[in-house]
């Protein structure tokens, strides 16, 4: 068991190094492209808010800090959600030619996403924390909700992987849903006090991750969100091991169809 796990992590690490090295060796601007997407989205919303086109109620932190942290965390969730499928597609030629521990692909995807996320998140967030005058060691606890939301993305990604690999139509449905889903989270604006959005955002299991992350980053002491976050994390961890078994069960069936 120990050797098997060691093989999975060793291979996952090697694959992550391979993907990371090849990605950045072909690009002159490297990490910039990872930062560019969330920054452009954030700047658009900052512009809309400054022009009074969207009305954001008073926040405990500045709106730029709110929206930039929100989009970065949202992007992490989307990347994690897509990672299992991306890994399978990138490694299709390997999967159809040799038997190896398939969970290594998940490990590789996770390492890659964490490295990419850290490269863009750490400098931006450090600047924001300094601007918000909220720099403290408590801020480092943000790693917990960050890992949590990534696990959440991976968990959904693992469970939907077989169905979206087998049926192209469902992959499009998932892509269709994830786009507007950002508006049902507190990534770009706070939870409204009432109305249908209040209902959706409050009950969205992603919401506590955003609130907890911001609470740690900017010293907001949002105890309620931390409690909900812990409950959801326990559920995620509880579902993760069956998810890995399900993934291993489904892979031979998927590999057989990949060859068609």
């Amino acid at each position: 068991m120990k050797t098997k796990l060691q093989n999975i992590f060793e291979l996952g690490f090697q694959l992550a190094i391979r993907d990371f090295s090849s990605l950045y060796r072909l690009s002159f601007l490297g990490v910039f492209w990872g930062v560019a997407g969330p920054l452009v989205t954030s700047l658009s919303f900052i512009l809309l808010q400054r022009s009074n086109i969207i009305n954001i109620p008073d926040l405990l932190i500045s709106y730029p800090a709110y929206v930039i942290s929100g989009t970065l965390i949202w992007q992490l969730f989307v990347d994690s959600l897509n990672a299992p499928l991306n890994q399978v597609q990138i490694n299709k030629s390997v999967l159809t030619k040799i038997q190896f521990p398939w969970l290594a692909l998940i490990v590789s995807g996770f390492i890659n996403i964490m490295i990419n996320f850290s490269l863009k998140f750490i400098p931006i967030i450090l600047v924001l924390m300094i601007f918000e005058n909220s720099f403290s060691f408590q801020g480092f606890l943000v790693i917990i909700p960050i890992l949590g939301i990534s696990f959440f993305g991976f968990l959904i990604g693992i469970y939907v992987l077989p169905i979206i690999t087998l049926f192209e139509d469902l992959k499009r449905v998932i892509n269709l849903i994830t786009g507007p889903l950002v508006f049902l989270t507190p990534a770009l604006y706070p939870v409204p006090d009432s109305g249908i959005l209040n209902l959706f955002i409050k009950n969205n299991p992603l919401t506590p991750f955003f609130l907890t992350a911001r609470s740690f980053l900017f010293n907001l002491n949002d105890i309620n969100s931390i409690e909900s976050f812990l409950i959801i994390m326990i559920i995620i961890l509880f579902l993760f091991i069956p998810g890995c078994f399900f993934y291993n069960l489904s892979m031979p069936i998927l590999i057989e169809r990949m060859e068609n």
């Binding site: 060691q6 060793e10 391979r18 030619k97 040799i98 399900f246 069960l249 069936i253 057989e256």
Partner: protein, 397 residues
């Protein structure tokens, strides 16, 4: 008694011919696997067929087993099942030892990375720990003869260099069982010889090999026993010589029906026939008559004759131009004869294909394709696996 490295028991595998149905069946199978822990569906659903049915055999330590069969016989499916890439529909496989499948070389290579980096990626994909790859690194590089290029991105490698690196990684860290799918001829001749030598060392060190091929020549040269499969079913298993002989005569009959024809441009040639003795002893005298019925007088014709083995290799080729034999056809019947003092082809089945063309090779008037079969027999069992049999003079000096 040698222990078994591999036991394959009643192995069957089914596929669907229709892609969309195959995807739906995939979903259904996954559901059954998760909720009923079952995938033993012995009935064929619509569009499904058995790619392999009830295959059983055993591979002993130090043995080289050849798997032979025509295209679509199920050889590669069997190899993929043994290597664990596919799961059997029914049956089971017992593997006693570390197995390495050489189905494809250089798996996981990334063209942007250097040879050095790719050794580690490919090695870990093949299931070797990093420490072991580090300890074997110098062996891998020196066997591949790529010392000067190991720190260059492999996109700058030639296909031969890439295959050499892939093969070196695969064989430098020795498993107990090697699955080989017709890839031994990698790189140049010197490297191919090195590969065969390494495979022989592996075998004499107690390793077992399964070699998959549709060519009886490589099977005869390398294997102790042969499993012959056809349309997913086991035809026979036994000694190399017996099974390959049977396979070759089966192939000859099969090819007779499937791909044989005579091409005639009726503006010029009415008929083309060959007359010869259909079975001869290897190395004996052979003569052949070419009967051509022409519709008009044609000057400057080239008559070419080729002997093809069942793998499609052109073993002997001669034509009238190479000896400046000026051929002209007169309207009506023409006859030409051809003699070989000693036809040195090795034992087996061959096709004699004849082409009649104009002075320019693209102007083809008539040709026979795989309809004229010649059987070369041999009284001696001690024959090699080469294409031809020469009779050299041996001396002790």
């Amino acid at each position: 008694m040698n222990k078994s490295h591999l036991i394959v028991n009643n192995l069957s595998k089914k596929f669907s011919r229709n892609l969309k149905r195959s995807l739906v069946y995939g979903g259904v199978d996954l559901f059954k696997k998760v909720f009923y822990n079952s995938n033993n569906n012995l009935d064929l659903r619509k569009t499904e067929f058995w790619a392999l049915k009830n295959i059983s055999f055993e591979l002993k330590q130090g043995e080289t087993l050849g798997i032979i069969g025509h295209n679509g016989a199920g050889k590669t499916t069997l190899l993929k099942l043994i290597s664990g890439l596919l799961y059997p529909t029914t049956g089971n496989i017992q593997i006693n030892g570390k197995l390495n499948a050489l189905i494809s070389l250089g798996i996981g290579f990334n063209p942007v990375l250097t040879g050095r980096e790719n050794i580690f990626v490919c090695g870990t994909i093949m299931g070797y720990p990093i420490d072991l790859i580090k300890s074997k690194f110098d062996d891998i590089v020196s066997f591949s003869e790529l010392e000067d290029f190991i720190d260059s991105p492999i996109k700058n490698y030639s296909s031969g260099m890439m295959a050499r690196l892939g093969f070196s990684i695969a064989v430098s860290i020795e498993p107990q069982i090697l699955l080989v799918d017709e890839i031994l001829a990698v790189g140049d001749l010197n490297f191919a010889i090195k590969c065969y030598r390494r495979i022989n060392e592996f075998r004499s060190g107690g390793g077992s090999i399964i070699l998959v091929s549709h060519s009886p020549y490589s099977i005869r040269a390398n294997c102790n026993r042969v499993l012959w499969i056809e349309e997913g079913k086991k035809q026979k298993i036994g000694k190399t010589k017996e099974i390959c002989d049977e396979y070759e005569s089966f192939s000859a009959q099969k090819d007779d029906v499937s791909s044989s024809k005579t091409f005639l441009d009726k503006n010029y040639i009415k008929d083309l026939k060959l007359k010869y003795n259909k079975i001869i002893e290897s190395g004996s005298y052979f003569d052949l008559k070419i009967l051509i019925e022409s519709n008009k007088n044609i000057d400057n014709v080239i008559i070419a004759i080729s002997f093809f083995n069942l793998s499609g290799q052109n073993v002997i080729a001669n034509n009238t131009k190479e000896i400046d034999f000026n051929v002209g056809l007169s309207k009506g019947k023409n006859q030409f004869s051809l003699e070989y003092d000693s036809l040195i082809l090795n034992r087996g089945s061959y096709y004699i294909n004849v082409t009649i063309s104009g002075d320019h090779i693209n102007t083809q008037y008539a040709a026979t394709v795989n309809i004229n079969k010649l059987e070369i027999s041999s009284k001696s069992d001690l024959y090699g696996a080469g294409l031809v049999r020469l009779k050299p003079k041996w001396n002790k000096n």
